[in-house]
């Protein structure tokens, strides 16, 4: 079942009257439960594509259809609401709220959704256990290592039970051990929660774990292959 469909996505940035084409007619589909890596050199358009799929940016041309909804036509207000209910984000530099504990960071999005306190508590504890941070529940981000912070970020992304998670170079700031650990957790959650993971990367270890690799160069899809596991 297709949960994401992009049709002819084009993005042109108008940098000081010098137009720069970041994406050039991207047509892709993503299925429920996929574990996809979008790879390519710096400046190839990976992040731009993720931003457009996530509704953080608008394409110059083309449409993004998520679960039958054309998000490119939604107002900013509706798009924000759509993101809250359907999309999880993992950022390269974690972007946790520094004054909240690991648990509170995970709970925050559920509170934003207006969920009941009991279910929020239950879900956050489940996720903390799933990412292996039981002993860091009440630690603030400043007391966590980079790998631990990113695990909290993954748990936060999953907290709202999104249809898919977009991770923009999630391992870029991590050492090899933390990267391995994070990838194992993401793979496990992908299988257990049947949630689609799409991440941009140029990390070979991430590519190795991915079951599908989409290669982008100069804003075009240059390859889309499934990897045997």
């Amino acid at each position: 079942m297709n949960i994401i469909e992009t049709k002819g996505i084009t993005k042109i940035y108008d940098i000081k009257t010098m137009p720069f084409q970041a994406l050039n007619g991207i047509d892709l589909t993503f299925q429920q439960g996929e574990f996809v890596a979008i790879v390519g050199p710096s400046g190839s358009g990976k992040t731009t594509l993720l931003n457009i799929i996530g509704g953080l940016d608008n394409p110059t041309d083309g449409v993004v259809i998520i679960d039958g909804v054309n998000i490119t036509q939604l107002s900013n207000w509706k798009k924000t609401d759509f993101r809250m209910k359907n999309i999880g984000f993992v950022f390269q530099s974690y972007n946790l709220i520094p004054v909240l504990t690991a648990k509170e960071n995970i709970e925050f999005i559920m509170q934003l959704q207006g969920k009941e306190k009991k279910s929020v508590e239950k879900r956050s504890l489940e996720l903390i256990e799933a990412v292996g941070l039981n002993n860091k529940t009440n630690s603030r981000p400043s007391k966590l290592s980079g790998g631990e912070q990113q695990r909290v970020a993954v748990a936060r992304a999953l907290a709202s039970k999104p249809k898919f998670i977009l991770a923009d170079e999630p391992t870029a700031n991590l050492d090899s051990k933390s990267t391995e650990n994070l990838l194992d957790i993401m793979e496990k959650l992908n299988k257990e929660e049947n949630v689609t993971f799409i991440f941009s990367t140029h990390d070979a270890r991430v590519m190795k774990k991915a079951r599908r690799i989409i290669t982008i160069e100069d804003g075009k899809v240059m390859g889309d292959v499934l990897q045997e596991k």
């Binding site: 992040t47 931003n51 996530g54 953080l56 940016d57 900013n76 207000w77 924000t80 609401d81 993101r83 809250m84 209910k85 999880g88 984000f89 950022f91 390269q92 530099s93 972007n95 709220i97 520094p98 999005i109 934003l112 959704q113 936060r156 709202s160 923009d168």
Partner: protein
């Protein structure tokens, strides 16, 4: 008159301009013929006695004079002074009065030109009937009630000329009015400073948290909530700062209310216009409420720009800010 609501003291007076002379010197003065117990309720001259007493003894022809006048006449306690004035028949008459008290107020001009004698002694000297008075001083419980009392008395005694203190002493009224104007200017200056302070603080709070705000927008916090969050932060900041400021200000004011704030470097200037250089500030509940409200409103107004900057953030760019 004393049974009128809000009236706390009534004192009838004889007011006569006369000459006062000692063995050394003489000068013109205003004599106030008073009933000491009644006068105590409307003025505080009895508390300003620095030598002797305020008509404690019942001896006849006692007089209380100012320190400045005593120096001018070169007289002290128990010394005699001669008062010369016109009686009711327009004849020049005079009497010897013994100094029983010397007072000193903050108004050196008043001290030099005003003396007090008993009402009955002055009536006897001038031949005035003891039912007569040149003026009746009335003290009301609150300044704001002066107008009400004035209207009641005007209605009850239409034949009398009734004036409140702003009419009797317009320069004091102008001074207070000018002080109030200055106070408003000070408040505006302070609020402007607060405004810049909060703009600066909140702008920093927004700019330091661009990445965080971008993340919040990305995960689904809408712009209204972001705006509300920043506004709420300012309200907390204003309430905390305002509360601490008001508490400190309140206790400082309560202390100065008793101890006084001595502007001694302007003492001469104040005395020359009849005012004390020591200020006793008074803080009122409505002033506290007004200040607290102004602080919160100024805070909210000042946050509009930082909040607008936050709303203009693009989540895609903001999350990748270094």
């Amino acid at each position: 008159m004393s049974d009128v609501y809000h009236v706390t003291g009534v004192s009838k007076r004889l007011v006569i301009s006369s000459m006062i002379a000692s063995a050394e010197s003489n000068t013109g003065v205003k004599i106030l013929g008073i009933i000491p117990d009644a006068e105590r309720k409307v003025t505080n001259v009895s508390e300003k006695i620095i030598e002797g007493s305020y008509f404690v003894s019942s001896k006849k022809n006692a007089i209380v004079i100012g320190k400045k006048l005593a120096e001018k006449l070169k007289v002290g306690l128990t010394k005699k002074v001669i008062i010369t004035l016109q009686d009711v028949d327009m004849n020049i008459t005079g009497g010897a009065f013994r100094v029983v008290g010397i007072y000193e107020t903050d108004n050196s001009l008043f001290d030099e030109s005003t003396v007090f004698t008993r009402y009955n002694d002055l009536c006897a000297l001038t031949g005035l009937d003891t039912t007569e008075a040149h003026e009746i001083a009335i003290l009301v419980d609150k300044d704001s009630n002066a107008g009400i009392v004035k209207d009641i008395l005007k209605f009850d005694y239409p034949e009398l000329d009734i004036q409140d203190w702003t009419q009797l002493s317009p320069e004091a009224g102008y001074l207070i009015s000018a002080m109030n104007q200055f106070l408003y200017i000070f408040i505006i200056v302070i609020m402007l400073a607060l405004c810049f302070g909060i703009v600066n603080t909140m702008l920093m709070a927004v700019l330091e948290r661009v990445k965080e705000l971008g993340m919040l927008m990305a995960i689904g916090m809408n712009r209204f909530r972001i705006f509300f969050m920043i506004m709420l932060e300012t309200v907390y900041l204003s309430i905390t700062g305002g509360f601490i400021g008001i508490i400190c200000g309140y206790f400082l004011c309560r202390y100065l209310e008793k101890a006084g704030l001595d502007l001694y470097f302007w003492e001469e200037a104040y005395r020359s216009i009849g005012y004390s250089s020591v200020i006793y500030p008074k803080i009122e509940l409505n002033m506290i409420a007004f200040t607290a409200l102004m602080v919160i409103l100024t805070g909210l107004f000042s946050t509009l720009y930082p909040a607008y900057k936050a709303l203009k953030l693009n989540p895609a760019d903001a999350t990748r800010t270094k």
